[in-house]
């Protein structure tokens, strides 16, 4: 599933499309409170862009762009951002994920602090979703045997 395609049209179109897909994913994440979308959906689109790269350019070239260590790091980093913001609110004598209390640190009114807190949480969610999507795809399509795949190529 994830070796390089021979078809030059598909490869080139995918190469041109990937940056636009990624900026669209970030748009979906950042505008989650105005239009449909949010952290999960944006993360799925980000993951889909990397999956497109995997399908068309193969595992070896994609690993150069985003190594597996980075994917593992991202998948835990997103959870860390999410929980970190929640615990930060706890430390400021609020409830878990009580964004209003963040106004003390950020020096803005509580309503704006809530918007910022939700944005941070959504960024965390999207990073985790992206990393987990990619790792699920690579695990399924290489049948969890990367070493054999590396030897063949």
């Amino acid at each position: 599933m994830i070796r390089k395609t021979d078809d030059i049209i598909i490869r080139t179109v995918a190469r041109i499309l990937v940056p636009f897909i990624q900026i669209y994913a970030l748009y979906v994440i950042m505008h989650g409170h105005y239009s449909p979308g949010g952290g999960f959906q944006g993360g799925v689109i980000l993951g889909a862009s990397i999956v497109l790269l995997l399908i068309t350019h193969g595992l070896v070239e994609t690993k150069k762009k985003i190594p597996e260590k980075a994917i593992a790091l991202f998948s835990s980093m997103g959870v860390f951002i999410y929980a970190g913001i929640g615990v930060l609110c706890l430390l400021l004598f609020g409830n878990f994920l009580d964004y209003g209390k963040l106004s003390v640190i950020l020096n803005i009114p509580p309503a704006a602090a809530r918007a910022m807190g939700i944005l941070g949480v959504e960024i965390g969610v999207s990073i985790t979703v992206m990393a987990v999507m990619i790792s699920i795809f690579t695990s399924i399509s290489t049948a969890e045997d990367h070493s054999k795949y590396d030897k063949e190529h």
């Binding site: 049209i9 490869r11 080139t12 190469r15 940056p19 900026i23 748009y27």
Partner: protein, 240 residues
């Protein structure tokens, strides 16, 4: 006794002299070696600096061009023009343009991006006109009761060189109704055409010339240049 002493002294002095000579030769050799090594190292460094500067310039140019395009796309999507969202847009476009600077513009010569984009935009109206015209022709083929079609596969070798120009040509052929690109293999296009007229239109090679003009490839007379010159010829002919 004295003679033997004298000979021994001479021997030892000769030995000392020879040692000194050998040492001097060694030192000279090592000095020569060191200088040559330093010279090659410095030459390599110079070459590396030159190459690095070139590639760094290409990377910088690609990153800036990608950033501008992505930020334009972001503003079109977002439609909110307050400071907060524009800052978010700049940050997001910067992250993605740094990560994917080699994806959007691969194998583009330094300094060509602007001209290529302008020529590509000038190519679009002609393509849309072609799509419009052949749309009517295919509709006529479909609706006429006799069905005057003659499906055929054309194989032609292209004079274009880079992958992006192949893809633009292939997608232009596919977008025009009646013709579909099946495959590209080693610079040979396999195109399915619905009727003879459509195939003849393709075989004139005007579309290929225009695509070559966009990406500045293949030494041939550019169609655009001919079109630019044509009105002048018309005036001259009238004058005669």
């Amino acid at each position: 006794m004295e003679v033997t002493l004298l000979i021994e002294a001479m021997d030892s002095s000769f030995r000392v002299l020879e040692d000194a000579k050998n040492q001097a030769v060694d030192i000279m050799n090592s000095a020569v070696r060191v200088t040559s090594e330093t010279r090659t190292i410095e030459e390599k460094k110079l070459v590396n600096i030159f190459k690095g500067a070139q590639s760094r310039r290409a990377i910088l140019q690609n990153t800036v061009a990608t950033f501008v395009i992505l930020f334009g796309f972001w503003t079109v999507l977002s439609g909110i023009f307050d400071l907060f969202h524009l800052t978010l847009g700049v940050i997001c476009s910067l992250i993605i343009s740094i990560l994917t600077h080699d994806l959007l513009f691969a194998n583009v010569r330094v300094g060509d991006i602007k001209l290529t984009i302008i020529r590509f935009i000038r190519y679009l109206p002609w393509l849309i006109y072609q799509i419009f015209v052949s749309n009517f022709y295919v509709a006529y083929l479909v609706l006429s009761p006799k069905m005057p079609i003659s499906p055929q596969i054309i194989r032609f070798k292209t004079k274009l060189e880079s992958d992006i120009s192949w893809v633009v040509l292939a997608n232009s052929i596919t977008l025009t109704p009646g013709t579909i690109t099946i495959d590209i293999k080693d610079g040979e296009f396999y195109v399915h055409a619905l009727a003879k007229k459509v195939a003849d239109d393709l075989n004139t090679g005007e579309m290929e010339d225009r695509v070559a003009h966009i990406f500045m490839e293949a030494d041939h007379i550019y169609v655009q240049d001919v079109l630019d010159v044509a009105p002048i010829f018309g005036v001259l002919r009238k004058g005669i």
